[in-house]
Amino acid sequence: MHRRDLLRLCGFGAAGLLASPFTRLLEPAHAGSLGGARRLLVFFTPNGTVHRHWRPESGMQFAPGSILEPLADHADDLLVLETDFVTGNNHEGGMAAMLTGGGGDSIDQVVADAIGGQSRFRSLELGALTSAWGGSSQTRMCYRGGGFVTPNDDPVNAWNRLFGDLGNTALLDRRRSVLDLAMADLTKLRGRLGAEEAARLDLHTEALREVERGLAGGGTCEDPGDLGTIRATDNDAFPDIVKAQIDVAVQALACGMTQVASVQLSHTVGPVVFSWLGESEGHHSLSHIDDGNPTGIASFVNCERWFAAQFAYLLDRLKALPDPETGAPLLDDTTVLWAQELGDGRMHECVNVPWVIAGGGGYFQTGRHLDLDETHDAVLVAVANSLGLPLTRFGVGTSGPAEVLR
């Protein structure tokens, strides 16, 4: 097998990279009723779960020691789901299908294309230790135009991009002139290329436009200070990186700098060692511990509980910061999706994949645990519908929105 060919199968490279993916998905008829959420935040953790330590009891009771217990204070605001993927299996298949529904652009990018056009950043992709193995179907979850959308693994860089040089208009003008020069050179170079190569430079053109828009100013915020120093490739700094990236994402939403953000923790097969919890085995290895090894299972649950605690922090922040327009908590009008790529990690299968939804502008009926009959594309359709997008199906799926979520 050649991974290059897999990339091609995924449509990487060549023509059509810039065709708007959104238009073909919009089908005016039969759309379910739509919600009014105005922001999307996707949170990701890898390598599946052990269901008996994850599944809520008798409704929404999170047992002591269970994976979701750190979210107990938020239980009423959560929709805890188990869903089978419409397609895709195994680590890579699950990672690729998770947000794409098995084909095309990922849901965050589709939403960003629909509602992010006026923001300084169409979308913000943030990561924690996603890139040590380069970009691949293991390490990437966001797709647009047939290619990966690369997350920024460095929270300090992301923060400076948002809040650095606020208000220095002379500097911003000069940067615009530089982009104009680059754009002029790019136009000329493009003219010398055949169609296939020219399509790659079109991505560059779009990138320069993104940069230019990103220079546009500070949104609705005062300068919130700086983040300090964080070693963005250091395993042991993972807790600092994750907290900082959550801060960046929530602050960017609160300042109206973007409407769509994602925070990706590690990646499928990710080898992060939770050394700060006293663990010494990598997360992926722990995810494969069988039930005959209770010590190993306890270690894995320990790590998973830490993930849940980070998601709880994310919700805490979304409740603490006000919507710049309404003054209500940000969470009220934000759809939050905690997505995973595998169900039972030991089995390498995308069945009963543990997802959690929060917020959603009143679209979702929260405070429930559901084992869905619908495949996960129906959840992605519902997520889009909660944000006012009249999607009727998504990816390779044919389901409408999962009405049971409402």
């Binding site: 097998m1 050649h2 991974r3 290059r4 060919d5 897999l6 990339l7 091609r8 199968l9 299996n89 195994n90 680590h91 298949g93 040590a132 970009g135 390490t139 290619g147 690369t150 920024n152 693994d153 460095d154 003008d173 000069r174 002139s177 530089v178 104009d180 020069l181 680059a182 754009m183 002029a184 136009t187 000329k188 170079l189 003219g191 010398r192 290329l193 055949g194 190569e197 790659r200 560059h204 053109t205 779009e206 990138a207 940069v211 963005a232 080898p271 060692v273 010494s280 085995e281 990598g282 290895s285 494969h288 511990i289 069988d290 005959g292 090894n293 030991r346 390498h348 299968e349 995308c350």
Partner: protein, 702 residues
């Protein structure tokens, strides 16, 4: 969708034919099948599952390593599905996921056999290596190349690129020319880096008495642009950067203007991409001398051409001067560094920097990386061959690493070749390929299979319990894995992995020799495709004698140099740098194939005639230029630049006499108005600040 339908129809037609009990008109040529179908695709890919006892044992497609005629018949009987299943096209799916695409060699091999089964008895010529030219293209600098290039241009720290967004990894390579693009995040990181670099650099234009500031700046920008773009700037290019300099200089002075000139050039595609576009003659493309110089420099040194190479390119290469430059580059110590880079890519040693492990300090990681780089460079400097690297009886240690291994001495240290010595016993290799808690026959077996033999393994099938064996102190690592793989579903794949990895069992997860694995004696016997060996000395010898290993090394060089998938012939026990020299001297090095561009307006290869530049105070008079870049009578393509020469912002609009119908336009919009075309800007260039320019292009038919 359409492709799927067609294939599906073809499959249905095939099934219908099967019902008529066709027997192939072509002979059951077992040798042909084995050479052209079994070895390239069925054995390496399908036998992972489709064997007696394998995961897919209950499917209709069952193979047997010992019975080639059965295999031939099994594949022939599957002719209606065998192209659909592994490419993910079959409506019922494929339990083993999608394994290759329709433009892969695997697909071609199977398609050949399907045609054979259906009675087409043509045997296509096997593809031979080295015939295929690379496409004409632009190659974005890798992050490593970017760092070294700015370091060489401006004498700054090359680590400026360390934080750039990670590039896609294709087959373990991060220099894949097709996959390297500039996306929004990276463009912004380029912006930040360019601003930081120009701030750090010492910029001294060395203006002479009597020279205007503008003339001095132009000379400096012309020289820097020449080095940054790896060719002379065209007149209009230099004029554009000069205008920007003048704009900044008017506010902040000469030097600040130059800094911003550098900032801008480092964000230009002419800097960020290496041009391999060439000049067309009779449908073929030959790289310009500038492009040849650039290709040589990045191949041998991984960085931008030095002054001597640019001077040689400017004089024009002939066979003698080109050969002299290849010798000069190849005998420079920087080529040894490139060889060390190659080995790091080959063995995936970049993972050493991040792999989590108890006791693996930053110091130790650095010492291990240094050990391997130094050894590779040392062997290459002695004109050593691949075998010399595998069997090296010396290594290079600092105090940290010597203490870690429990060896005496630092610097060059002679070894016994039993506990330590040779490429496979390098701490870097053993540490980068292990589990966080110890050795791993699986990781190390995969390293040998995928990286040293260049044989890709399919991913574990879905719905298979892949739990690693629990740590049972009563068993050794080897015993735990052996027990685990006794499961026939696992064994079909792990038979290709674990027996290779067992050979490494004398080494723990940090590359230290161990007499025992816990309380257990170490058994490091293994086998390479059925041939038994004991330990790494014998595994190294088996690899050295294996054509796959040597070919894999040559293929890795080829990929590292070209950024594109290709193939290589078995080079024999080859000198470490020989594939590099062979490629540079090869007849295809400066040849490219490919589609012509839409226009070819940029003058390359000659320095432009320059007029005296206008000084800061005088804005350039040209508000609009339009250049026909390509004209074929019935139509033409043109490039245009509009500049705001006024003192205030301008929402530009240009009216030109229409000359046909515009059917393709970029970076602007156009409407027809009577006999005129009216051009306006698009979102990002509609409004021009004073002095700013917008460029756009279009093609029209008359």
């Amino acid at each position: 969708m359409s492709r799927f339908s067609l294939l599906f129809l073809a499959a249905c037609a095939g099934s219908a034919a099967d019902n008529d009990v066709i027997t192939s008109q072509c002979p059951e040529d077992v040798a042909l099948f084995e050479e052209r179908v079994w070895e390239p695709v069925v054995e390496p890919i399908c036998t992972g599952c489709h064997l007696e006892g394998g995961v897919a044992r209950d499917s209709d497609f069952l193979l047997d390593r010992d019975d080639m005629l059965q295999n031939l018949r099994a594949v022939s009987a599957m002719a209606d599905q065998i192209l659909l299943k592994p490419t993910g096209q079959h409506p019922n799916g494929h339990g083993g996921d999608t394994l290759f695409g329709e433009d892969s060699p695997e697909y071609a091999a199977l398609a050949f056999w399907v045609a054979w089964t259906e009675g087409s008895c043509d045997v296509p010529e096997p593809e031979s290596c080295g015939d295929e030219l690379l496409p004409r293209r632009v190659r974005r600098l890798t992050h490593t190349e970017y760092g070294r290039t700015v370091a060489d241009l401006l004498d700054v720290d090359a680590s400026i690129a360390a934080g750039f967004a990670a590039d896609p990894e294709v087959d373990g390579f991060r220099n894949d020319a097709e996959a390297l693009v500039v996306h929004g995040l990276l463009a912004d990181q380029y912006r930040v880096a360019a601003e930081q670099v120009s701030e750090m650099a010492v910029i001294d234009p060395g203006c002479t008495a009597g020279q205007t500031e503008a003339a001095c700046a132009q000379a400096w920008l012309e020289d820097f642009g020449f080095r940054a773009f790896r060719r002379p700037l065209a007149e209009d290019e230099l004029a554009a950067y000069q205008r920007f300099w003048a704009e900044v200089a008017a506010a902040d002075g000469l030097e600040e203007g130059l800094r911003w000139g550098v900032t801008a050039m480092l964000q230009s595609p002419h800097f960020l991409y290496r041009s391999e576009l060439g000049i067309e003659a009779n449908g073929a493309y030959t790289l310009t001398d500038w492009e040849v110089a650039t290709a040589l420099s990045y191949a041998f040194w991984g960085t931008t051409p030095d002054a001597e190479l640019l001077t040689a390119a400017e004089a024009g290469f002939d066979a003698t001067t080109l050969q002299a430059q290849i010798e000069r580059l190849g005998n420079d110590p920087r080529t040894l560094d490139t060889t060390a880079d190659l080995v790091e890519v080959w063995l995936l040693l970049d993972r050493l920097a991040t792999v989590p492990r108890d006791g693996l300090t930053e110091e130790l990681r650095a010492a291990m990386a240094w050990e391997t780089r130094t050894l590779v460079k040392d062997v290459a400097a002695d004109d050593g061959q691949l075998g010399d690297l595998l069997h090296a009886r010396h290594t290079f240690l600092d105090g940290t690493l010597a203490a870690h291994y429990g060896l005496a001495g630092t610097g060059r240290v002679e070894l016994d070749g039993e506990q330590y010595g040779g490429l496979l016993r390098q701490g870097s290799v053993l540490t980068a390929h292990a589990r966080p808690t110890g050795s791993s026959p699986v990781h190390r077996g995969v390293l040998v299979r995928e990286r040293l033999l260049c044989e890709e393994l399919p991913p574990p099938p879905a719905n298979l319990d892949t739990s690693p064996p629990p740590v049972d102190p009563s068993l050794s690592t080897r015993e735990r894995y052996e027990e685990h793989s006794a499961n026939p579903e696992c064994a079909s794949c792990h038979d290709k992995i674990d027996p290779l990895g067992f050979g490494f069992e004398h080494y723990d997860g940090l590359g230290r020799w161990r007499a025992t694995d816990g309380v257990h004696a170490v058994d490091d016997s293994g086998s390479l495709d059925g041939e038994p060996f004991v330990g790494l000395t014998e595994l190294s010898a088996a690899l050295e004698a294996d054509a796959r290993f040597r070919t894999c090394f040559a293929e890795t060089w080829q990929r590292h140099l070209t950024g594109a998938e290709g193939c290589a012939e078995d080079p024999g026990d080859v000198g470490l740098t020989e594939p590099l020299f062979a490629m540079a001297r090869g007849s295809g090095f400066a040849q490219r194939h490919g589609a012509p561009g839409e226009g070819d307006s940029l003058a390359v290869g000659q320095r432009p005639e320059l007029s005296e530049p206008p000084d800061v105070e005088t804005p350039p008079p040209d508000a609009f230029t339009l250049t026909i870049s390509d004209d074929w009578g019935a139509g033409f393509c043109a490039e245009a630049t509009v500049t705001n020469t006024t003192e205030s912002a301008w929402t530009w609009e240009i009216r030109e006499s229409a000359d046909g119908t515009v059917n393709n336009i970029w970076n602007a919009e156009v409407v027809a108005d009577g006999a005129d075309w009216v051009f306006t800007g698009v979102e990002w260039n509609a409004v021009l600040e004073p002095g700013a320019s917008a460029s756009f292009g279009f093609c029209a038919t008359r």
